[in-house]
Symmetry: C2
Subunit: 233 residues, 2 copies
């Protein structure tokens, strides 16, 4: 019996690339508005609109699209063209049907860990979009459960652990967001591996916790099996 | 031990009013575009855009908002004003923060049934929106589980029943959509009560099943306890 009977993974930017599609889309969006405002101004305003909309729209591509459209109207003082608005919707639809690109080492690591642990995905975002990405990833068969949640907080993790009768000390979470994947688990007394991705959305940044026994940082998911082996000795 | 140990409810237009907010929003949307096209044309075009977008956006207010915006651009051949686009986003935000109005008899019926059965909500739509509505409804405490799914099909119900170890013959589903709440359950061999709502979205229409022993139709949720009593005799 392994020490950690359940190992749970965040999905976006932990199993597959995601933030780079947001960055690419944001670059296209900036181009559409380039004759109104400079890039920095557009980014700052978009982030402001996204932040105020998150309580209504939650996470994911659809809310991002609505925030881009609202930003475009505001920055152009209503002069944005219908065709530019339609182009923004097309950008969103393209994000939703983009190919899944797994991060290096994910396939092998997940297949290897599935032999020894019960694996879960715990992710936030749009329900349909996340379900489709998991299907298209080819990894579905390795995961015992997929949980798509509206927010990753201490409370939402505690509820999930209770629902699945998982003891906190036997739970190990892996993800690229300190704020959403790591800190809530440490607060609950669980263990977590933080694997930073090349880009972190401003909304997800947080300080690296110091001195917590349950906290581990890796450079690469391929290092995870060795870490778990070592912790279980 | 009751015959039906789990009674599951759809949420929108089964527990609380929803379609009327879509209808009100659609009326406002039609007004915005009134100098371009007549009402019938606008409704037909919106339904066409929604139908083609559902595979990308799924159900719920955010996808509805994006489809309204796309319809507005198409029907005006790109001439829709930025302010009208912003007005559409505001309509969507208003829908997401609208008060919950329970249908008549829901509070008493749910409280009564919770004494004897394990109750669930099985609904589709945007994750955050549905979670917030359940919280605001005041009914959360009566439900053992809340399941928000991207599509209500025979497969998705079969998966939920398996995950919760519920025997099909002990499962009773209640809802206002034949297509999403009733037919998949009957196909699985379960029982269901169809309670039509005053408006049915075109996408959810289906023929009433004839001669299925598990099929029941009620006029009002208040009739449900008596039906379950009778079936359990």
């Amino acid at each position: 019996m392994p020490t950690f009977d359940t190992v749970a993974f965040d999905a976006d930017d932990t199993l597959w690339h995601s933030e780079r599609y947001y960055a690419q889309t944001q670059a296209e969006f900036t181009k559409l508005l380039a004759h109104y405002r400079d890039e920095e101004y557009i980014h700052a305003h978009l982030y402001e609109v996204e932040s105020r909309n998150i309580q209504h729209f939650g996470y994911g591509v659809k809310g991002f699209a609505l925030s881009m459209i609202e930003t475009a109207v505001e920055l152009t003082e209503g002069r944005v063209s219908g065709n530019d608005v339609k182009a923004i919707i097309t950008l969103a639809r393209n994000m939703l049907s983009a190919d899944i690109e797994l991060l290096d080492g994910v396939s092998e690591t997940i297949a290897q860990l599935a032999e020894r642990h019960r694996l879960m995905v715990i992710t936030k975002g749009d329900l349909l979009d996340q379900e489709k990405k998991i299907q298209r990833s080819g990894l579905r068969k390795y995961f015992h459960r997929i949980e798509i949640v509206s927010e990753k907080t201490r409370e939402s993790y505690a509820r999930l652990l209770a629902e699945h009768s998982i003891a906190t000390q036997k739970f190990f979470m892996v993800g690229n967001s300190l704020r959403s994947d790591i800190l809530p688990i440490l607060e609950l007394g669980g263990s977590a591996a933080y694997i930073p991705y090349e880009i972190t959305w401003q909304h997800e940044t947080a300080e690296t916790p110091g001195g917590d026994a349950g906290f581990h940082q890796l450079e690469h998911i391929g290092q995870l099996p060795a870490l778990l082996d070592q912790l279980e000795k």
